[in-house]
């Protein structure tokens, strides 16, 4: 029953009882009297009617006063007691309840406080023991963290879905570059690695690793080169890790910046190729003409003049060729070179899997030398093999392919063979030059591009008896790297350093709305603005945000960016946020900042305090920034009101005090975002106690609070 209704009912009951008692007294007094006396009494009462009405009204006030006194001392006080007790149990163990109610209620409060004290002590003891038992684990983790930070390589550890479980600062630095904290923040716990490294490349590496694991290779490691968004080239070493059950659980990526290295190699190679291709012809022409001039001094004058002319004009062509080659390629640092040394056997293994899985064509390995290594962009090369396989299947009905490889030391001969179909070089020439397409999968490259990248060639080789093959010729790896045979560490011992358990369940395909609040990844955020009215031209001047993953606020995964509002600041707002106009000069405009923020909070639920206000600012800029914030938004103001309906004050400071959250760095966007995040984490168990477990329930509860009906 609502408090107000209960109050009214109590007053009504008391009042009716008092009036009833007066009326009954009158009836009892009148019953024994003679008729004239009764009439005299009634007359007397009628004459004094105004006084009686006054007495009745006075009685009502007395009733209300009495009920109010009782209510405050017993009902309200007990309710407040219950609410405070809930806070003690769920959020702030150190809080003690207090009451202004009756002595009995105060006694109950004292009893509750004694219970809270005992509970708190028990809890402290329990935590102490947990800490002790966790200390060793923590130490091991610290050792790992120290080890990781000592490495010169960047390290990323991802689960099978590509979510980052662990990273070090070097990895962040490698993917950062340029846009400051915002870009570096894309490396973060729970974030997708696919926003950093091409999804196909990782999938390809996983396939390769599976091949190695199946082959019993120890340790199974594969390498590839990936380009970052900032244009760096990273050499990536990938190794699988297994969970305690021995199943593949994810992949460890070790990253090394090779931008300079490969860039130089590419430039050198291109320069040489350009010179070889373009300079040989004019030199040949000059040489042939000059040798004729020298060998046959008796030739006719016009013919001599013709040869001299050739020498002169071809010298000019050669000069031009050399200059162009030097100009065009001196600064050509193209990021498309992904050649890595790889065992031919592994390459063909991956190719077989790929061809069988995507084409449904049977394959077999014939006569492959295990010791062969090749320098190859395995992803592109396997794609080329699969593409030619697809063409053979579709145009010539080839249903079985063989793969073989041998070498004369410098070059690798790799044959993709078939039986029965008469395929001529013309068909190959046509297939070579079109962009590769295998089913729905399209590549911008042609087989010719892939071969050029490898410095390779291909032609049709007939072997007689209806057997034929595509003969690929590609350079062997310069140094066949000795396979690493590290002392085989027991695989079970590896994962215990990592705290990966939290991420095991992230693969569940529960609809987002039905996900539990404790499991969701959030971005707690706040904005500072020039004023309160976005529709009247007020602008955002600062955005701060922090990620919350698995119930933990990640204080080093933050977003903090000042924004040039392109309008003057007024003095009152500067008093609140303390940002001077000078600090905003030269900062990026909101159209540049919002896409970065959008990326930062991708796939998360937004959490803000009085979020409707911030969201209006963001939404007004969505069109001009070319993005949309479509994710759900939770508001700590509304959630606090849902948890503590009796409290009227839901300002950030007040909630913080109520929940025992320390106030630091107020009124900077990041400071408020951190505060909001911490408060939100405290609210989750309080919500759970009220049956608000899932995101859908939290949104529902927010809508139902009084504050939600206010319009901003």
């Amino acid at each position: 029953m609502k408090a107000r209704v209960k109050f009214a009912l109590w007053v009504a009951v008391l009042y009716v009882a008092a009036l009833g008692a007066a009326a009954a007294l009158g009836v009892v007094l009148g019953a024994g009297q003679p008729a004239e006396d009764r009439e005299a009494l009634l007359r007397m009462l009628a004459e004094r009617a105004p006084a009686l009405v006054f007495v009745a009204a006075f009685l009502l006030f007395v009733c209300i006063g009495a009920v109010k006194w009782l209510f405050a001392r017993y009902v309200t006080a007990v309710r407040a007691l219950a609410e405070q007790t809930r806070v003690v149990v769920e959020a702030n163990q150190a809080l003690r309840v207090s009451t202004e109610g009756a002595r009995e209620v105060a006694e109950a409060a004292a009893a509750i406080n004694r219970l809270a004290e005992a509970h708190h002590a028990l809890r402290r003891d329990f935590e102490q023991r947990t800490r002790e038992s966790g200390a060793q684990l923590g130490e091991e983790r610290n050792r790992l963290a120290a080890l990781m930070s000592e490495l010169s390589e960047g390290v990323l550890v991802c689960n099978a879905e590509g979510r980052i479980l662990l990273y070090n600062e070097q990895a962040r630095a490698l993917f950062g570059a340029g846009r400051g904290t915002a870009a570096a923040a894309l490396v973060g716990l729970g974030r997708s690695v696919f926003t950093l490294v091409d999804r196909d490349q990782i999938a390809h590496a996983m396939e390769k690793l599976q091949t190695l694991v199946d082959a019993g290779e120890l340790p199974p490691i594969t390498r590839f080169v990936a380009a970052t968004a900032a244009g760096r080239l990273l050499r990536v070493r990938a190794a699988p890790f297994v969970d305690s059950g021995g199943a593949a659980a994810g992949v460890v990526l070790a990253l090394e910046d090779v931008t300079g290295l490969l860039g130089q190699e590419a430039t050198r190679r291109k320069l040489l190729q350009a010179l070889a291709a373009d300079a040989r012809a004019p030199v040949a022409n000059i040489r042939a003409a000059a040798e004729n001039l020298a060998s046959f001094p008796d030739m006719a004058t016009e013919r001599r003049a013709r040869f001299v002319d050739i020498v002169a004009s071809e010298s000019q062509v050669l000069t031009r060729t050399l200059n162009e080659a030097l100009r065009d390629y001196a600064d050509a640092l193209k990021a498309n070179l992904r050649l890595e040394d790889m065992r031919v056997l592994d390459l063909l293994g991956v190719a077989r899997q790929r061809i069988e899985a995507t084409l449904g064509v049977a394959t077999r390995l014939v006569d492959v030398d295990e010791a062969l290594w090749v320098r190859v962009d395995s992803f592109a090369f396997v794609q080329a093999l699969a593409f030619l396989g697809a063409r053979l299947r579709d145009d010539f009905g080839v249903r079985a392919l063989s793969l073989s490889a041998r070498s004369d030391g410098k070059l690798i001969e790799l044959d993709l063979g078939w039986t029965g179909a008469n395929v001529v070089n013309d068909a190959l020439s046509a297939w070579e030059s079109v962009p590769m397409q295998i089913g729905p999968e399209a590549s911008p490259l042609s087989v010719r591009d892939v071969l050029d990248r490898h410095g390779g060639e291909v032609w049709v080789k007939a072997a007689g008896a209806g057997e034929a093959s595509f003969r690929f010729l590609i350079p062997a790896a310069e140094v066949a790297p000795a396979p690493l045979r590290a002392p085989a560490a027991p695989t079970e011992s590896r994962p215990e350093y990592y705290d990966f358990d939290l991420f095991r369940s992230s693969g569940t395909a529960t609809a987002q709305q039905e996900r539990k609040l404790v499991e969701i990844t959030y971005t707690a955020f706040d904005t500072e603005t020039t004023g309160l009215e976005p529709s009247a031209g007020d602008e955002i001047i600062s955005i701060g945000a922090v990620r919350i993953v698995n119930g933990r606020m990640l204080k080093n995964e933050v977003f903090e960016q000042l924004v040039d509002p392109r309008r003057p600041l007024n003095r009152e707002s500067t008093r609140i946020h303390g940002i001077e106009a000078r600090a905003l000069e030269g900062q990026p405009a909101i159209e540049q900042v919002l896409p970065l923020f959008h990326r930062f909070c991708e796939d998360t639920v937004l959490v803000g305090h009085n979020a409707a206000f911030d969201m209006r600012f963001l939404e007004l800029k969505e069109a001009s920034a070319g993005i949309r914030f479509a994710q759900p938004v939770l508001d700590t103001l509304l959630l606090s009101a849902a948890v503590h309906p009796a409290h009227q004050d839901h300002r950030l400071e007040s909630i913080a005090e109520r929940l025992g959250v320390r106030l630091i760095g107020r009124h900077t966007a990041l400071g408020d975002a951190l505060l909001t995040g911490e408060i939100f984490l405290k609210l989750i168990p309080l919500l759970a106690e009220r049956g608000v477990i899932t995101l859908r329930q939290a949104l529902q509860a927010s809508r139902e609070t009084y504050y939600a009906r206010l319009q901003y």
Partner: protein, 123 residues
């Protein structure tokens, strides 16, 4: 009787030199400026040897070479591929497709003549 040599190359400046050189060496010289023309000339004149440039319009040198080796009656015709592309893979491709010799530009006139004579003498 003079031996017949076909020069198949689209670059005038090398054709002039080769034509002059080979005529001086006593060969009967034919010239074709693209792959199609080369195959036609071979069919009409049945030369003893073809100097085949790799980069030619219509049909490149590899294709002409392969066509020639598909015809049994042309088996005896010697093929020297001339190319500005001198990488190992290209040389291997030329030889695999049936060229007798793959000469990388630039080359020495005297050596080329010696190689032509050697090939024709072996026939």
């Amino acid at each position: 009787m003079a031996r017949k040599v076909l020069i198949a190359d689209d670059e005038q400046n090398i054709v002039i030199s080769l034509e002059f050189l080979l005529k001086r060496e006593g060969f009967e010289v034919l010239v074709a400026a693209d792959g199609e023309a080369a195959l036609q000339m071979i069919a009409e004149h049945h030369p003893d040897l073809v100097l085949l440039d790799v980069m030619m319009p219509k049909r490149n040198g590899y294709e002409v070479c392969q066509r020639m080796r598909e015809r049994p009656d042309w088996r005896g015709i010697k093929i020297i591929m001339l190319s500005a592309k001198g990488r190992d893979v290209e040389v291997s491709k030329g030889v695999s497709l049936g060229a007798d010799l793959y000469v990388t530009k630039p080359f020495s006139n005297a050596e080329l003549v010696a190689q032509i004579n050697a090939l024709l003498a072996a026939a």
